[in-house]
């Protein structure tokens, strides 16, 4: 059982852009890691994220659709679903609810080191990059809290700077989540455009 998690800059940026696009909604998404042969890497190294829902995160059918599609996408790209992130609706509510635990436990059935990342709404404003998330992990099928400091963002300083630039140029309105995709299937939930912008900003 790994006891920390590493986020690369792209996944960090995409989570924050999602949060800033829908500041008044509860929202969630998936964390993807590179697939490792044999022993799983420690700590899990998150290389990408898929923003999922903001309209209603408590209902299962579209979650099933999203999970199976992202899973198929991962298989094609040699990735694996390694975790789940959620930001609650209320400004002060940072603890995971039943839905987030269930989904993470489900992911853990396929990926032992699955993590649950809760966005701490009230800490988003401050410049401290790592503290805006709390990590939970799955032990014996139950999600448990981990030490906050174990979230590492690769190049944390630049990641925050890039996010700021992207926000200033309104890129968060370009970010597509699975809800947007279901409204209009021509929209791309892998967000190739936004990822490209993040890469350019590096």
């Amino acid at each position: 059982m790994a006891d920390s998690v590493v986020l690369n800059r792209q996944s960090y940026c995409k989570i924050l852009l999602h949060v800033f696009k829908y500041p008044h909604c509860a929202l969630n998404g998936l964390l993807l890691a590179q697939k490792q042969k044999g022993k799983e890497s420690k700590p899990p190294h998150i290389v990408d994220t898929v923003p999922l829902f903001h309209l209603n995160i408590g209902l299962t059918p579209m979650m099933e659709v999203a999970l199976s599609q992202v899973d198929a996408y991962c298989r094609a790209k040699n990735l694996v679903i390694a975790g789940y992130y959620q930001a609650n609706e209320s400004f002060t509510a940072n603890s995971p609810d039943l839905v987030s635990c269930r989904v993470t436990e489900k992911i853990a059935e396929h990926f032992g080191d699955a993590v649950l990342l809760m966005v701490e709404n009230d800490k988003l404003k401050s410049e401290v990059e790592n503290a805006a998330f709390t990590v939970y992990s799955v032990h014996d099928g139950k999600a448990k809290k981990r030490d906050v400091h174990k979230v590492q963002v690769q190049g944390a300083g630049t990641a925050a700077a890039i996010t700021a630039t992207l926000l200033a140029t309104k890129q968060h309105w370009q970010l597509v989540d699975f809800d947007n995709h279901l409204d209009d299937v021509s929209l791309d939930w892998t967000n190739a455009d936004v990822c490209e912008k993040i890469r350019c900003a590096l």
Partner: protein, 278 residues
């Protein structure tokens, strides 16, 4: 443009504040009587974005023009809310409610304070009391439904949604949401209900992709349930196949270079179909 946002009830606060800052600050007086509506709108948007400076400016302008208006007082209370002083906000709402018992928006604000303060169960109790008086407020029923979902009380959530459905049986989104809830509840009977309402949603609007996926999933689920009769299985496989083809067509029409996504959709449809046939 601001008028359009206002009429459509779009919550695009960030843009509203931006428009105000960029072009309206100096030209407010040219708007004539619409000025006050714009002030109200910008004030709300500013509160949403936590731009207290702008909110304060709009609020004082409105207060100057309408010193006794309950609408302006409500805005002032909302300003307290956004600053986190819920008690002061509630005090204002109390006095407003005292003046006008039938004001529904004031009561709704009080409920939303409870919700914001994290007291979901209290909010549910209040909202139920409110709905006893304002039974035809379908937005409130929707809100109650969402609250129940956040509490994972799906049975009560579906009851609320039934109320909403009765109000407007021709809205495909209501059917789809109701089916979503039934599907989440998960027994075979609920699946049947979900499938029926997904079908209705698709019939009302064939572009509702969520309902299409829902129809596919619920039909597959029923078909693969061990208790289903042979006839029922055959029917549901047929429904699932139909929905799968529809979804496939939707994606193919786009005909994009986006192959991985197309493949992801096909993989999913195939794997689930496989499960049902076996």
């Amino acid at each position: 443009m601001l008028r359009k946002f206002r009429d459509d009830n779009d919550r695009r606060s960030e843009e509203v504040v931006e428009i105000y800052e960029e072009c309206l600050t100096s030209k407010m007086n040219k708007l004539g009587n619409e000025k006050w509506l714009v002030y109200e709108q910008v004030c709300l948007a500013a509160l949403d974005c936590s731009r207290q400076d702008i909110a304060q400016k709009c609020l004082s302008a409105l207060r100057h023009q309408f010193p006794d208006s309950s609408r302006v007082k409500k805005l002032a209370a909302m300003q307290h809310e956004s600053l986190g002083s819920y008690e002061r906000a509630i005090r204002i709402y109390d006095s407003l409610q005292h003046q006008d018992e039938s004001s529904s928006s004031v009561r709704k604000r009080r409920i939303s304070i409870l919700h914001a303060a994290g007291k979901t169960s209290d909010a549910i109790v209040e909202l139920n009391a409110y709905l006893k008086q304002f039974m035809s407020d379908y937005e409130a029923w929707m809100e109650l439904c969402d609250l129940y979902i956040s509490e994972n009380d799906y049975a009560k959530a579906s009851y609320c949604m039934e109320e909403v459905l009765l109000s407007n049986p021709h809205n495909h989104l209501y059917h789809q949401r109701y089916a979503d809830i039934r599907y989440t509840q998960g027994t075979i009977d609920n699946m049947e209900l979900a499938r029926a309402h997904y079908s209705q949603a698709v019939a009302l609007n064939c572009n509702n992709v969520r309902a299409m996926y829902g129809l596919f999933l619920s039909a597959s689920n029923i078909a693969s349930a061990p208790k289903s009769t042979v006839q029922r299985k055959r029917d549901n496989i047929k429904y699932a196949m139909w929905a799968a083809n529809q979804i496939h067509e939707r994606y193919q029409k786009l005909n994009k270079e986006n192959d991985t996504q197309m493949k992801a959709v096909d993989d999913m449809l195939e794997s689930l179909q496989f499960a049902t046939v076996n």
